[in-house]
Symmetry: C2
Subunit: 138 residues, 2 copies
DNA sequence: CCAATAAATGCACTTCCATTGCACTTTTTA
DNA sequence: TAAAAAGTGCAATGGAAGTGCATTTATTGG
């Protein structure tokens, strides 16, 4: 708990009770979470607070946003060295069509993409859909 | 015009006037189009018709849907050999942050992605964002 | 310690786009 | 040519993201 507080402070985010809880929640879950998930977990808190907390976390490099193609924005904690901004550091995301969960495959960097002459890449989004190990093992 | 009709018939889609026009419109544009684009081009037709036309086209392998991360669903004509379903055939999409246009880079197949043990890939979505050749050349 | 200020939170509302239900029209077919 | 099917148009719904403003809570300088 204390560690979370100091962690947030390091990231220049004031560690309010709500923020610590949300961080804790996301750290315990190992999958990417949607705003609605957090809403369900913290029914006493207002949607807006949760929403803005995520935006604050995002702005300060605590979480990154994931577009997994479901149309629902997901968020996941950044790894220690996760430089979401740097192209080379981008990892891919896996969305399971069975359990509907999305995970960061942090170890799997996106391979270099060759583009035609004249195209300049600034950002890459790679989502693989299929069956995750949890679901395929059953 | 006649070719479009027979083409649609080949795809088991009844070539109504509207459908032929929409197909023609998409063929002339070389970029992926949003429903709103088509709406603007065909102000006399109803949104729903255009929407359902795209869905019909999609179901019959005439167009494929593109999620370029803008939150707006785009559609593009499939190439002759575009087997949208087959993983190996998936091409990548490029979204220009300047002109906001999205194109299929049909020639650029998605490289094989190595996944951890237990993960089964069924579909891959790869979107590169940056500056397109039209915009970078200026 | 207290007042002034800034940050965080909650509520209500808006916007935007995708999607659907139902009625009406046009086309197909038996 | 009548019945059925497919296509089209209008209106409404739904879900999620985002915003304005008032209120509460925390911070800080005197």
């Amino acid at each position: 708990m204390k560690e979370i507080e100091t962690f947030l402070e390091d990231k220049k985010v004031r560690p309010t009770a709500m923020r610590v809880l949300i961080y804790k929640y996301m750290a315990e879950k190992e999958i990417a979470v949607a705003l609605a998930d957090i809403e369900n977990a913290f029914t006493k808190a207002d949607r807006t607070t949760l929403y803005r907390t995520l935006k604050t976390f995002e702005k300060n490099g605590i979480v990154h946003q994931i577009d997994d193609g479901t149309g629902i924005t997901k968020y996941a904690l950044c790894d220690k060295g996760c430089n979401c901004e740097i192209e080379q550091d981008l990892h891919l995301h896996f969305h399971c069509l069975n359990c509907n969960e999305t995970v960061c495959l942090t170890k799997h960097k996106i391979p270099h993409i060759n583009l035609p002459e004249g195209y300049l890449a600034e950002d890459v989004n790679l989502v693989v859909k299929g069956i995750c190990e949890k679901c395929s093992g059953q």
